[in-house]
């Protein structure tokens, strides 16, 4: 269903006039954006600007919130994820997510990564083992955990737990990985590891990251989108946005002169 094969395909995520209301509150106001395949796009903006809400639209995490109303089109690899009759489970196989705080399951390191495969009915032991190892390697965690795969995931440090969550997201081979402030709860060394990882992962995945850390947006992303009061104010190459932003509101925000 998802068109991920075509090498010519330029964009992985495209949205057209997306509006989102929480009851009477108009949280997203007509967002149009096209995010390139195998690139990292950062969403920045003050708290409450709608960036996380918009990110959560990409795997339909807002669906269960009371009184939420979403209009417009969101295409992920050419599939309109709100209009096409697709199962949310299938969508989430295609779009992985990593949250602000590491949230490993109360299981072993191995089982955390294998979880998605097992839920999807994969029982081939060798296949699961191979995929777990590959995902842990991709998440730059393999060398640190290969001798203690049966130990509880809670024995790992915060930074390792976050990389475990990334490995868990990668195990089901998504095309898109969403990251909602993935390093904000980590120390600088763990943060640097996550950032290095993001750099590596974009070879294989399209990554969207919400961050409050503008230096982090500058370091890891190819493009940056600035949101303010539910609007997408500016979307540009990261180096352009951080050196010569077009909109005064972007300039005020990134230079710390807001409000």
């Amino acid at each position: 269903m998802y068109n991920t094969d075509s090498k010519e395909k330029e964009y992985s995520i495209q949205t057209k006039d997306v509006h989102l209301h929480y009851g009477d509150f108009h949280a997203l106001k007509g967002i149009n954006i096209a995010m390139r395949k195998n690139q990292v796009t950062a969403f920045i903006g003050p708290s409450g600007c709608g960036k996380s809400t918009f990110l959560r639209c990409f795997n339909r995490m807002n669906d269960l919130i009371d009184n939420v109303r979403i209009e417009g089109d969101i295409f992920i690899d050419d599939v309109d994820i709100y209009k096409t009759n697709i199962q949310v489970d299938d969508l989430r196989k295609h779009v992985g997510m990593v949250f602000q705080k590491p949230n490993p399951f109360p299981k072993s390191i191995f089982e955390n990564v294998a979880y998605g495969l097992r839920v999807n009915g994969t029982s081939d032991k060798n296949f699961v083992q191979e995929r777990v190892e590959r995902s842990l390697r991709q998440a730059a965690l393999w060398d640190e955990v290969k001798d203690k795969l049966k130990k509880s995931a809670f024995e790992l440090s915060g930074g390792q737990q976050q990389r475990l969550c990334i490995a868990r997201a990668l195990a089901i081979e998504p095309s898109v990985v969403l990251m909602d402030e993935p390093a904000s709860a980590l120390d600088p060394i763990s943060t640097a590891k996550i950032e290095e990882l993001i750099y590596e992962l974009k070879k294989d995945y399209t990554i969207v990251i919400v961050t409050h850390n503008m230096q982090q947006a500058g370091r890891v992303s190819d493009s940056t989108a600035f949101f303010y009061l539910g609007e997408l104010v500016e979307f540009a190459k990261t180096k352009t946005l951080f050196t010569s932003p077009r909109d005064q509101r972007t300039q005020n925000y990134i230079t710390g002169r807001f409000g």
């Binding site: 050196t243 990134i254 230079t255 710390g256």
Partner: protein, 227 residues
Amino acid sequence: MNQLEKELLRIKEKVNEMWDLVTFQVNGGKAALVHADKELARKIIKRGKKVNDYDVKIDRMCENLFALFNPVAVDLRWVLAVLKINANLERIGDTAEGIARLVKEVDTAFDAELLQITQVLEMYDAAEAMLTDVRTALAEENTELAKALIKRDKVLDKINAKADKALVSYMQAHPENIAQALKVSNIIRKLERIGDQITNIAEEVVFYVDAKVVKHRQKGKRDKNKD
């Protein structure tokens, strides 16, 4: 005003103080030349050390700002521009100091005819006005003025280009005053250099305000015309 703005303001104040010193060196140079004022020439030379101290201080302040405040956008462009403006101001100061050293060496006042036919005083006036205007362009973020300055540098280039011929005629007519003529020749070359350095500053003003790189553009055009 946030902390970053306070730091930027501190650097701006230092740049202004340095600018005052360099302006004194350039403007004083003309008076010293006209009146063969050795005392003034000495003061100009002495001021060079202070200018150098400001150069180091401003560089260090910019370095700290990069490390501690991670400036972006207009702030980043401003600090990058200031680093280059600082370097150019220091060189203008050095050049003015060089002129003062030449003036200090003469025992009698420069021959008025020599100053007149070489247009060295007009050159001085043009350089002084340019230095004042480029400072205004930076303070007022006036890129029109900055762009006009880049063109105005041609006045100095033209006088410099004509000077050799005037000097040769003068030396032929006044072989007893060749030493002074050579000094004036040297001063003219230095003033032409000051014009280039002011142009560099004007280009940085355009970069800071409009985020556009205009340096080397004139040269590119000239090369194209030659082809």
